[in-house]
Structures are given as structure tokens and as C-alpha cells.
């Protein structure tokens, strides 16, 4: 039986796909057989972030509708051999993801993999509901910014009422907060919500803090999951998050600003 992890947020553009790519790569790198599914029907992007956009032949909806087998649609990652990608359809309607169809595919994957990572679309519509419905755990990606925090709280409410675990009265979906685009300098100036502020408002355990970093854009430009940029702060922060997801205790890093001297502040504008 695979563990099913949804990466969700409510708000768009906070880093769900970046996080899905890195978490699935991190799990696979540790030897776990992992598949990452793109639920964003019509706005497929995980393939680009994972650098397999030219290898997509069949997709998730093809498998649901019986037009292709799972083996035909799964794309094996070229860097980590225990990692597979199931791309979203670019042309179908979102409603093509039926509850039964998704369940069938997830059950089949569940026999073959240790982890199934579901990359949710933004919003709280059908696609997002399907992505979170079968989840055992949820990584809620949040930016330290008012609209993102509010939307995260909304998605937490949906996890607690509309997931399969909630409907069946089973143990609740295990929730994790992943705070991304964090800028410790601005936090220290009082211009940005701190980790503690967001933790206090959302009241769920902290999985990790990803610092705002130019490495993230550079990595996505090249189709490299940022976790593979092992020398970068963002890459290491994702690696810590994956370790914690697997139950390892790791101290949080990259949460304080790298102190600049008085003179460099003066001449570079602080």
C-alpha cells in the first residue's frame, strides 16, 4: 500500500508544482518507489518542471478513460530511476477526472509504489478536490502573505470535511505546513509574516521553510527539481523537508537573515 501525499494550497503561484517535483524526487532519491501525478488538467506544467515535456505520449485522463494503460502513460525520470511521472491531460475538461476513475488509477499505482504524490491545481474546484480526496497526508504550501495564508486555512477546512478520510470517519489527513518564498531579512524588518506568525494562525505542524531564492527560477528554467541543486539553500531546505516527512528529526534552517555589515547595508540599500 502506497502512502498518498497531496501538495495543495488553495492559492495559485505559491510553489505547489515546484514542491511536488522536489518532494517526489527527494523520496525517490532515498530509494522509495515514487510516482508524482499532475492533477492540473488543461494547465499541465509538472512535465516542464521535471524536464519530460517532450516525452509525454499518453496522460492521466487517457488512462482513466481506458485509451492507454498505466505503463504507456507513466514516464520514468532520467535522473532518479525509482521516480515516475503521470502527466495531466492538456486538452480535456477537468470533469474528466471522475472519483471512480481516479480511484482506479490510484489503486493500481498503490500496488506498485511506496509513495504517490498528487500535485493539485490551484483553487477549490473539482480538480483540487480530486487531488486531495484520497490523500493520507497533505503538504499545504503557503507564502508568508495574507491571501495565501487565508486560502491555506480554507483548504485545511476542505481537507477536514471533504477528503475520503473525513467522509469515511477515518483518522484525519495528516497536515504539514510548508512555508515557501520566505525572506528572513524582510521578516526582521517587520515587513513579512514570520514562521511563528503563520504557524500560530494555521495551527498545523511545520514541515519546512523554503527561503526565497534565485535558484528556484534557475532550476525551473532548466527543468531540474530544485532539490537536486544540492549546494543551494532552497535545495537543502527541501531535502530537510523530505527527511522530516519520513519521520527524521531535523533542525529548521534558513530562517534568520545572513547578517550584513553596516557598510554593505548602506551601499546596497539594505
Amino acid at each position: 500500500m502506497a502512502r498518498i501525499i497531496v501538495v495543495t494550497s488553495g492559492k495559485g503561484g505559491v510553489g505547489k508544482t515546484t514542491t511536488s517535483a522536489s518532494i517526489s524526487t527527494g523520496l525517490a532519491k532515498r530509494g522509495h518507489k515514487t510516482v508524482v501525478i499532475d492533477f492540473d488538467v488543461g494547465l499541465r506544467n509538472l512535465d516542464l518542471i521535471m524536464n519530460c515535456e517532450r516525452r509525454v505520449v499518453y496522460d492521466f485522463v487517457n488512462v482513466i478513460q481506458g485509451e492507454a494503460t498505466l505503463n504507456q502513460a507513466l514516464i520514468r525520470d532520467k535522473r532518479v530511476d525509482t521516480l515516475y511521472i503521470l502527466p495531466a491531460s492538456q486538452t480535456r475538461e477537468k470533469e474528466a477526472l471522475t472519483k471512480d476513475g481516479v480511484e482506479k488509477v490510484i489503486n493500481e499505482l498503490s500496488d506498485r509504489f511506496d509513495y504517490i504524490v498528487c500535485d493539485s491545481p490551484a483553487g477549490i474546484e473539482h480538480g483540487a478536490l480530486m487531488a486531495l480526496y484520497y490523500a493520507d497526508e497533505a503538504v499545504v504550501v503557503t507564502n508568508p502573505e495574507v491571501s495565501s495564508v487565508r486560502d491555506s486555512d480554507r483548504i485545511l477546512g476542505i481537507l477536514q470535511s471533504k477528503s475520503r478520510r473525513a467522509e469515511m470517519g477515518q483518522d484525519p489527513v495528516k497536515e504539514h505546513l510548508l512555508l515557501s518564498r520566505y525572506n528572513p531579512d524582510r521578516v526582521e524588518k517587520g515587513e513579512m509574516l514570520s514562521v511563528a506568525d503563520v504557524e500560530e494562525i494555521l495551527a498545523i505542524p511545520l514541515l519546512g521553510v523554503i527561503p526565497e531564492s534565485q535558484v528556484v527560477l534557475n532550476a525551473s528554467n532548466q527543468g531540474v527539481p530544485v532539490i537536486l541543486e544540492e549546494d543551494s539553500d532552497a535545495g537543502q531546505a527541501y531535502d530537510d523537508a523530505v527527511a522530516r516527512l519520513l519521520g527524521e528529526e531535523r533542525e529548521h534552517r534558513f530562517m534568520t537573515s545572513q547578517k550584513k555589515g553596516f557598510f554593505s547595508r548602506m551601499f546596497k540599500g539594505g
Partner: protein, 84 residues
Amino acid sequence: MSFLDYFKSKKNNRSASVAKERLQIIVAHERGQRDQPDYLPELQKELLAVIRKYVQISDDQVQVEVDRNDSCSVLELNVTLPEH
């Protein structure tokens, strides 16, 4: 420019605390509504109509809430009557 900013930033732009305060209020409010059953707004409207047959009251003088406990739910109705 950056010379002045260095001193200015110490005092101004403490916007994070405003953000936190606003979030705490809106999130608490939305969590309160989240747990309410779907029929509640309609129920509130009809109750208001019934009460108005007898007493003139405004919309905000009727509050309907559902409190859920482990074993049962309690429908709480609060009507503020105008002074005579």
C-alpha cells in the same frame, strides 16, 4: 537614498503585525462559518419572517448558531427584541 532608508526602515513598514492581526480576525470568522450546516442561512431567513409577523426587528437582531458536541448538536437562537 539608501543612507536615509537605513534609519527609516527601523521605524516604518511594520506591516507584518497588521497582516497578522487582520488574518487572525478573518480566519476565526471563516472557521466559525465553516462548521455551520448548509441550511442555516435559509433557516435564519424564515425564522426572521415568522418573528416579524409579531415584532418589528432588523436582520442583525436574530442570531442562529449550531453548536456541535460529541453526542448532539444544539441549535441556538438569539432574538433581541426592541425596547417598549
